[in-house]
């Protein structure tokens, strides 16, 4: 006799399980979720390994606050600064959202650098994780470009001249620098096109690039796993050496039991026991 009386009795739980089964049967999401979330991590994994997630979470916060700010911001030389003042002083919690975006930007730069430093000091960029490092370096550059393009949007004197200087630093790069400068500022001098161009780069071009590269970066991390800390490797090596020595000693002991050679091997020569 087969029983159908298994599984949860709570009808809500039962319905939830059925929905989950329905989705999983069609998407395989349970398996993917396990692959994504329930990974083995090496011993010695600590708070230092949370910096990457922190950077990603900050990117999420920047994306959300940025989307909201874009509802009020006007990328035009005549209205840009006024719309910033409007957001800060008049829109409900505008000061809060703008503050989150502004301080989140600085925090993201800081966290990204700390994350890079952690990876560098841990040696986590080594084989087979080189491509994780390369995608991370691309993310670093895109984060810096976010800082540059976002800074101009406030359109006050400091933003204007600091960005003039920054673009001229690009433009004074050898050979292609002058072209990069012209492309960035949409012509030989800063103008209305520069502001809307920076706005487009800041809110469409680079966020798309960052999201794509975060996906790649995460794929590599999940595929290859977190690298163990250098001291864990050292502990492993010591452990391995100790095991090798033990095995070697055991072999010699066995050989001594079978034949004439006896322990310890250091005092054995030509199968003859040598007294010390």
């Amino acid at each position: 006799m087969t029983t159908k009386d298994i599984g949860p009795k709570n009808p809500v739980e039962k319905a939830g399980g059925q929905v989950a089964d329905y989705v999983d049967e069609r998407s395989g999401v349970k398996n993917s979720g396990r692959w994504l979330m329930f990974r083995n991590i090496p011993a010695g994994t600590s708070w230092f390994q949370t910096l990457g997630f922190t950077a990603m979470a900050l990117f999420g916060m920047q994306a959300i606050t940025g989307i909201i700010l874009a509802m009020y911001y006007k990328p035009d030389p005549n209205t840009a600064f006024g719309s910033i003042a409007h957001i800060t002083n008049e829109v409900t919690w505008g000061w809060m959202v703008r503050g989150m975006h502004k301080w989140g930007a600085s925090a993201m730069i800081v966290i990204v650098f700390l994350h890079m430093g952690r990876v560098f000091i841990w040696g986590a960029y080594k084989y087979p994780r080189e491509l994780t490092w390369v995608t991370g370096a691309m993310l670093l550059m895109m984060t810096m470009m976010m800082g540059l393009t976002g800074y101009l949007l406030v359109w006050d004197q400091k933003a204007y001249w600091a960005t003039v200087v920054a673009v001229n630093i690009f433009a004074s790069a050898p050979i292609l620098g002058p072209y990069i400068g012209d492309i960035l500022r949409a012509g030989p001098e800063f103008g209305p096109d520069t502001l809307s161009r920076f706005y487009s780069i800041h809110m469409l071009l680079i966020p798309g690039g960052i999201a794509t590269f975060i996906g790649l970066h995460l794929y590599f991390i999940i595929r290859l796993g977190i690298s163990e800390p250098p001291w864990a490797k050292r502990a492993l090596r010591v452990q391995r050496d100790e095991e090798d020595a033990r095995r070697k000693a055991a072999r010699n002991r066995d050989a001594g039991l079978k034949g004439s050679v006896s322990f310890p091997p250091a005092v054995v020569a030509d199968g003859q026991e040598v007294s010390r």
Binding site: Q157, V165, N168, I169, S172, P178, I183, A186, G187, E189
Partner: protein, 290 residues
């Protein structure tokens, strides 16, 4: 031979030496799928799909990238701009009779450039002054005031239009493009961003700028005269500074500002460079396409 002889009967049902076909008996049929050069239907269609996709992508990307990138690379258009009667700019011109050390020798005028942003302090400074500012006498250590005044008066009386110069200096710092300001007290230009310092002719006297301040071409023309386009192109319409000073009371004598250019420390003209780029020396070779 008995019926149940294991050596007789159909092959496969009875034990015994195998007499069926063997793999070594066949010469393998020539199969195009073994030939790496053979284009199968699948390979052909895959190639067509990739090439077609590439062409379609290019058809979208080429105009888009051109729109975003090529337009800013267009070369700048320059034209002569009439900035006013020459008498507005050629103030305190020679001759100087009875000059004292406090007498103004020439004058600096500042002109805001109608830029893309009204807040942007982009301007040109019209310098009407000595070709060699260092020629101006300074009091000697043991010289009495009366003796110095007499020496200054004699020097100033000897000045002619040939000792004077009219320059249009662009206030874009040659370091990284901040707006420099003219400091009348020190008779030079100071950049607020990184401390670049220039003398009254825009030559570097301190700080990081790799070359002097850029200049704009200036000319003084008598607009009551008619000139052909060829004469304008060859510069025949330009009045010399001497002629301009002599006729500057005529409101038809106008000052025009034209194309910007960079200069070396020796005041040799060069094509306009971006800030940060030296025009002479080894490092100038880093910017071959300017």
């Amino acid at each position: 031979m008995a019926e149940d002889d294991p050596d007789s009967g159909a092959p496969g049902t009875q034990a015994g030496p195998y007499e069926g076909p063997r793999a070594t008996d066949f010469t393998p049929e020539a199969d195009h799928s073994d030939d790496p050069g053979y284009i199968t239907r699948t390979r052909f269609l895959a190639t067509v799909a990739i090439a077609g996709g590439g062409i379609l992508t290019a058809a979208i990307l080429v105009p888009v990238v051109g729109f975003a990138v090529a337009n800013p690379l267009k070369s700048e258009q320059w034209r002569w701009v009439d900035i006013g009667p020459a008498s507005d700019f050629l103030k305190n011109a020679p001759p100087y009779a009875n000059a004292t050390p406090s007498t103004k020798i020439g004058e600096v005028t500042s002109l805001a450039v109608a830029g893309t942003n009204p807040e942007a302090d982009r301007r040109i400074y019209l310098m009407f002054g000595l070709v060699d500012p260092s020629a101006k006498p300074i009091p000697g250590p043991d010289e009495s005031t009366a003796a110095f005044n007499a020496r200054f008066k004699a020097w100033a009386a000897g000045l002619t239009a040939a000792d004077m110069d009219a320059l249009a200096i662009w206030n874009r710092c040659a370091h990284l493009g901040c707006p420099v300001a003219y400091a009348a007290g020190s008779q030079g230009f100071i950049c607020p961003c990184h401390g670049g310092a220039y003398d009254s002719r825009g030559l570097v006297i301190g700080g990081p700028p790799p070359r002097p301040l850029d200049r704009l071409d200036v000319k003084i023309v008598d607009q009551s005269q008619q000139y052909s386009a060829a004469d304008v192109a060859s510069g025949k319409d330009r009045l010399s500074l001497q002629q301009a000073i002599a006729t500057s009371s005529n409101p038809k004598v106008r000052m025009l500002v034209g194309k910007a250019y960079s200069i070396s420390a020796e005041q040799e003209p060069f094509p306009l460079h971006s800030p940060g780029e030296p025009v002479t020396g080894t490092l100038s070779n880093l910017y071959p396409f300017v």
